[in-house]
C-alpha cells in the first residue's frame, strides 16, 4: 500500500439521507452538514488510512490518505484518547465495538476513557464484559476495580484489585490500587505491604509514593511518610500530587511542632512579633517581594524544627532559621491576602503576637 493522497467530491444533493441514523434524517442547515460529515468520517475509520471529510453547502469533499502502516480503528481511538481528543476517541472506540463486540482492546480503552469521563455505569458494563471474555487482559481487573470504587466506594473495588494481584503479583498498578483501597478502608497494615511493593514496581509513579506516604502518615510513621512525600514532590514538581504531598509534610511538621511546644509556642510567638515589627517598616511592595521569595524557598519544605539549618534571602539581609522564615511568610501572607491558607497553623501564636503588637 502506498502513501498517497487523493480527493473525492460529490454533490451534497446526491447524499442519501437514509444513510443517517433515523433521528438525523430530517436535519437542516449546519446540523445536517455536521451529521453528514460525522457519518462519513466514521465510515472511513479503520480503513487503513486517514480521511478528512468536509461538507459544504453544495458538496461533500473527502481527502483520503493511505498509511503505509495501517492503524486499526481501536488503535486510532486509543491514540485519540491518549492525545486528549477524548470525545472523538470515545466515538471511534464505540465504532470499533460496533464492528466487533468482543474487541478486548476496545472494551478496555473505552471502559477506561468513560470511567475517566465519569460515565461510570457504561464503563462498568464494558469492563465487566472484558473480564468475562478476556480475564487475562492487562490491567482489566484494575480498571474494573477503579470504576467499581468510583461508582460505589472503595469496598466495591476491593475484590477486583485482589483478583488483579492474585493473577499477577508483579503488577504495580494492581498493588498500588489494592493498597489504596485497603488504606481507604482503614486496613493500614494490610495495605502497607502492597503500597511498598507498588513503589518498588513503579518507582517513577508519584501517586504510588503519595499513597505510601499517606498510609505511613496515618499509621504514625512520620519519618518514612515525610520521605515518601518528598519523593512525590521530586516526581511531580508543582503538580497536584505534589500539593497533596506538601500538605502531608506540613501536617507532619505541625504535629511535631505542637508536640514539642505545647499549645502556644514561645519561639513562634517571638518570631511572629519580630515579623510584625519588621513589616511595619516596609512598603506593601517590599512585603510582597519578601513573602514571595520565602514562598518559593519553602516550596521544597523548610526545616522548621532544626535551628542548625540557616537560610539566606536576597530581599532581607541576615541568616534565618526555618521557623523564622515560616513566621515571616505567615505574617506576610496574612497582610497580603488573609484568605490564603499556609497549610501550617500558627493561628493561636499569630493572634497573641498581634495582641502584644497592638499593646506595644
Amino acid at each position: 500500500m502506498s502513501d498517497s493522497v487523493h480527493d473525492i467530491q460529490f454533490p451534497l444533493a446526491d447524499f442519501d439521507r437514509e444513510q443517517l441514523p433515523q433521528p438525523q434524517r430530517d436535519l437542516q442547515g449546519d446540523a445536517y452538514l455536521q451529521a453528514v460529515q460525522e457519518h462519513l468520517s466514521s465510515q472511513f475509520l479503520g480503513q487503513g488510512g486517514a480521511a478528512e471529510v468536509a461538507v459544504t453547502s453544495d458538496r461533500v469533499i473527502i481527502r483520503w490518505k493511505d498509511h503505509s502502516e495501517a492503524e486499526s480503528i481501536t488503535q486510532q481511538g486509543t491514540r485519540l484518547v491518549q492525545q486528549g481528543d477524548t470525545e472523538k476517541g470515545i466515538a471511534t472506540l464505540r465504532v470499533a465495538l460496533q464492528r466487533n463486540s468482543d474487541d478486548a482492546a476496545a472494551l478496555f480503552n473505552l471502559g477506561v476513557a468513560l470511567s475517566n469521563q465519569n460515565q461510570l455505569a457504561e464503563s462498568l458494563e464494558l469492563l465487566n464484559r472484558l473480564v468475562q471474555i478476556a480475564p487475562e487482559y492487562p490491567c482489566a481487573w484494575v480498571a474494573l476495580g477503579v470504576t467499581q470504587s468510583a461508582l460505589h466506594g472503595p469496598l466495591h473495588g476491593l475484590s477486583a484489585f485482589q483478583e488483579a494481584v492474585r493473577r499477577n503479583s508483579m503488577d504495580g498498578f494492581a498493588r498500588k490500587n489494592l493498597g489504596a483501597a485497603l488504606s481507604g478502608l482503614g486496613r493500614f497494615e494490610e495495605a502497607l505491604e502492597h503500597l511498598k511493593a507498588a513503589v518498588v514496581l513503579l518507582p517513577q509513579d508519584a501517586v504510588a509514593w503519595l499513597n505510601l506516604g499517606m498510609n505511613l502518615e496515618q499509621s504514625g510513621n512520620h519519618a518514612d511518610a515525610a520521605t515518601a512525600y518528598r519523593q512525590v514532590m521530586i516526581l511531580d514538581p508543582g503538580g497536584r500530587y505534589s500539593e497533596k504531598a506538601e500538605q502531608g509534610r506540613n501536617r507532619i511538621a505541625q504535629q511535631k511542632f505542637r508536640a514539642s511546644g505545647g499549645s502556644l509556642r514561645q519561639d513562634a510567638l517571638d518570631h511572629l512579633g519580630e515579623a510584625l515589627r519588621l513589616f511595619d517598616r516596609m512598603t506593601p511592595d517590599q512585603i510582597k517581594r519578601l513573602t514571595h521569595e520565602i514562598v518559593m524557598l519553602g516550596a521544597k519544605g523548610l526545616a522548621v524544627e532544626n535551628t542548625q539549618v540557616r537560610y539566606q534571602l536576597r530581599t532581607l539581609p541576615g541568616e534565618f532559621t526555618g521557623l523564622q522564615l515560616l513566621c515571616l511568610e505567615y505574617v506576610g501572607l496574612k497582610l497580603i491576602d488573609p484568605s490564603v491558607d499556609l497549610g501550617f497553623d500558627l493561628g493561636a501564636e499569630y493572634e497573641e503576637a498581634c495582641r502584644l503588637h497592638r499593646l506595644a
Binding site: H6, I8, Q9, F10, P11, D14, Q47, V60, W64
Partner: protein
C-alpha cells in the same frame, strides 16, 4: 514489442481458437487505455490497440484478449455481439433522459452506456480469469484496477455529474458501485465503496452483484449476464444481440 510470455501464450491461444492472427498496435490520441476490434466480416486479423505510455501494457492487452478468448471458447452458434438499431437507441435515449440533447451526442452516450454494461459485467469474469491464470500480471492488474477506481471516483465530481441527465449518471454510478464493492473487497480496501453507498447506490449495485453470483462463470452464459444486467438497469430495449461470425 516483446510481450510477457504469458501474454504471448494468450495471443497464441486466441489465434489458434479463432484462426485469425492478433495484431497489437500503439495508437496515440486514444481516450481509452486499450480497445479491441475483433476480426469480422472477413477481416484478416483481430486488432488490439493501446494508448502509448502505459506501464501495464501486458495486462491491458491480455484483458482485451481474454474477451476474445471467451467468445471463441463458445460454440459458433453461441457467439454474439451487441448492436442497436435507431429505434432501440431512441428507447435508450428516453430511458436515460437524453431527449433534450443533440441527437448524435445522445446516440453516442447510449452506445457508451451499453458498452459499459457489457465490459463491466463480463469484465469481472475476465479479471477473475486473469487473477487465476496469469499470476505474472497481478501487479499490473492491480495498478490498472486502482487507476480505474480513481477514474470512477472522479466521475462523481459535481461539475461532471451536472453535465448529464440523472438517469444516465445513476446508471453509470450503479455499475461503478459494483466495481468499487467487488474490487474493494478483493483488494481488502472496502473504503472504495463508501462514497457510492453514501449516495444510495448500494441496493441497485447489490442486485447486479447477485446476478454476477447467480449466472454461471462460463463463456456461454456471458450473454445471459449482459441481458440480466441490462434488465436491472432498464436498458434491455436499447440494444440487441447479433450473431458473431468471422465471415
Amino acid at each position: 514489442m516483446p510481450f510477457n510470455p504469458e501474454v504471448q501464450q494468450l495471443i497464441h491461444q486466441v489465434e489458434t481458437l479463432s484462426g485469425r492472427p492478433v495484431y497489437v498496435a500503439e495508437e496515440s490520441g486514444m481516450s481509452l487505455r486499450a480497445t479491441l476490434v475483433p476480426a469480422r466480416k472477413g477481416a484478416a486479423a483481430h486488432l488490439v490497440r493501446y494508448k502509448p505510455g502505459s506501464s501495464s501494457l501486458d495486462y491491458l492487452v491480455a484483458n482485451q484478449l481474454v474477451y476474445l478468448l471467451r467468445t471463441f471458447s463458445c460454440p459458433e452458434e453461441d457467439r454474439w455481439e451487441v448492436a442497436a438499431i435507431p429505434s432501440e437507441q431512441d428507447a435508450g435515449i428516453r430511458t436515460m433522459g437524453l431527449t433534450d440533447f443533440q441527437d448524435a451526442f445522445a446516440r453516442g452516450m447510449i452506445g457508451q452506456i451499453v458498452t459499459q454494461i457489457r465490459t463491466y459485467s463480463i469484465g469481472f469474469r475476465v479479471d477473475a480469469w486473469i487473477r487465476s491464470n496469469l499470476p505474472s500480471l497481478h501487479a499490473e492488474q492491480e495498478a490498472e484496477i486502482r487507476s480505474q477506481l480513481s477514474e470512477n471516483e472522479r466521475a462523481l465530481n459535481p461539475e461532471i455529474r451536472k453535465k448529464f441527465p440523472k438517469p444516465l449518471v445513476d446508471t453509470n454510478s450503479i455499475m461503478n458501485t459494483v466495481f468499487a464493492i467487488c474490487w474493494g473487497r478483493l483488494l481488502g480496501e472496502p473504503r472504495f465503496e463508501i462514497p457510492y453507498v453514501a449516495m444510495g447506490y448500494r441496493a441497485k449495485a447489490t442486485g447486479l452483484i447477485q446476478v454476477l453470483e447467480e449466472v454461471p462463470d462460463d463463456p456461454t452464459s456471458d450473454r445471459l449476464l449482459v441481458e440480466r444486467w441490462a434488465t436491472l438497469l432498464g436498458l434491455s430495449d436499447a440494444f440487441h444481440f447479433n450473431p458473431y461470425s468471422l465471415d
